[in-house]
């Protein structure tokens, strides 16, 4: 009996002290963590919409979406965070698109676990650059091994075809959702 009480008291005390301490720490850390996350998102938005000066979150849609503006508060387009499957895990991206959703301004890969040195090339400048000003109607297409001939095509990376295709897939998927929502008048 005495042991049982001792066991209960010890474990409860340790639990209460730990929990209390962590709660205090968490109240200090949570705002900072939220600020870090916000700064990350903000940085990504201005990377994919280089000419934007301000942005606001679009509230009426079911997914995360940001509308960006120039100096005089004219809407420039959207920044859309979207994710999908890469070669061996989730790829999270930010897609910048013009206000009419026809042209991509830029893309940025936020999180990925692609093969270092091969798949990770999709995060690098030469690949991402292909998306700047790319026509996204009816959808983005890819070609393999030859330079793109149409204005909605990009060339996949040698040795990272699946990762390249995954990026194209995520962009198309995200834009398709956005267009569907716009057609229903949700984002306006």
């Amino acid at each position: 009996m005495k042991t049982i009480v001792a066991m209960l008291v010890t474990l409860s005390l340790i639990g209460v002290v730990s929990g209390g301490g962590l709660a205090m720490l968490s109240s200090w850390a949570d705002p900072l963590i939220a600020a870090n996350k916000k700064a990350d998102t903000e940085r990504a938005i201005f990377l994919v919409q280089p000419s934007a000066k301000s942005y606001e979150k679009v509230e009426k849609v079911a997914f995360e979406l940001y509308r960006v503006f120039d100096e005089t508060k004219n809407p420039l387009g959207y920044a859309l965070p979207w994710e999908g499957n890469g070669f061996q895990g989730k790829v999270r991206m930010m897609v910048g698109v013009s206000a009419d959703l026809n042209t991509i301004t830029a893309i940025e890969v936020l999180d990925q676990v692609e093969t270092p040195g091969l798949g990770t090339k999709v995060t690098e400048e030469p690949f991402r650059k292909q998306f700047q000003g790319l026509v996204a109607v009816p959808q983005v297409d890819w070609v393999k091994g030859v330079p793109p001939t149409k204005e909605n095509e990009i060339q996949t990376i040698t040795g990272a075809t699946i990762s390249s295709k995954a990026i194209v897939g995520i962009v198309n998927d995200g834009l398709a959702h956005l267009r569907k929502d716009m057609a229903q008048g949700g984002a306006q």
Binding site: A6, L22, S26, P116
Partner: protein, 226 residues
């Protein structure tokens, strides 16, 4: 009471004699997973050392109050508390590092180096010795992870701590920063270090044997055996 070893030995044993990675072969998950660069290895080892030192200290302080039936549960709660502290502080202050180490920070909770030291050492020794032991083990862990991460980073991406050390002409061995590279490097390093130890041991044995050969008693013993 068994004879106490000196305090400095309490610290130094973790560096080599009982190095958690090379000798005890504990904590393999973070060792293999995060050592793609020297910086990641050092950060991981620092986080682990922090948790190890504070858990050892607290557990050693209250070791006589914890009923032995619930000691493991108590250790885990205390360890988890310190791991959560590290995780929160890193996410708040060092978001990039936190992203690089990802899920391996929360996984320090189940790092067997930490639980192993509590059960094997902190639960039986006073706080001062426990902290020294934890610091030693942490330093040993750091040596292992930093060297492993350094080797993999140099060969796998030509850099060390982010600075380029090999010329562009050197084609980086991608396999070194993939999981297979971790196993290869760790295996070869362990083999190499153990072969050094083995060689020294054999030399010492030979020296002792040679000395004994010269004494008459040993000669007699030799004669009897022959």
């Amino acid at each position: 009471m068994k004879k106490q070893v000196s305090l400095s030995k309490e610290y130094a044993k973790g560096l080599w004699d009982q190095n958690p990675v090379f000798k005890q072969v504990l904590g393999m998950c973070p060792t293999l997973a995060v050592t793609v660069s020297a910086m990641n290895g050092i950060a991981m080892a620092l986080a682990t050392t922090f948790v190890l030192v504070f858990s050892s200290f607290i557990i050693s302080l209250i070791r006589k109050l914890i009923p032995s039936q619930v000691r493991i549960a108590s250790y885990i709660v205390i360890i988890a508390t310190f791991v959560t502290i590290v995780d929160l502080v890193m996410r708040a202050q060092f978001p990039d590092l936190s992203k690089a180490l990802g899920p391996y920070i929360p996984l320090i909770v189940v790092n067997c180096v930490i639980l192993g030291r509590q059960e094997a050492f902190a639960a039986k020794n006073n706080p001062l010795r426990s902290v020294l032991d934890a610091l030693g083990m942490g330093t040993g862990f750091m040596l292992a992870l930093a060297s492993l991460g350094g080797i993999r980073e140099i060969i796998g991406s030509r850099t060390l701590l982010g600075m380029q050390v090999l010329p562009d002409a050197f084609e980086p061995w991608l396999v070194m920063i993939l999981p297979a590279g971790a196993f290869l490097t760790l295996g070869l390093m362990m083999g190499f270090l153990n072969s050094l130890v083995e060689r020294r041991k054999r030399r010492d044995e030979a020296a002792v044997l040679a000395q004994h050969m010269r004494t008459p008693a040993a000669a007699m013993l030799e004669g009897q055996e022959g």
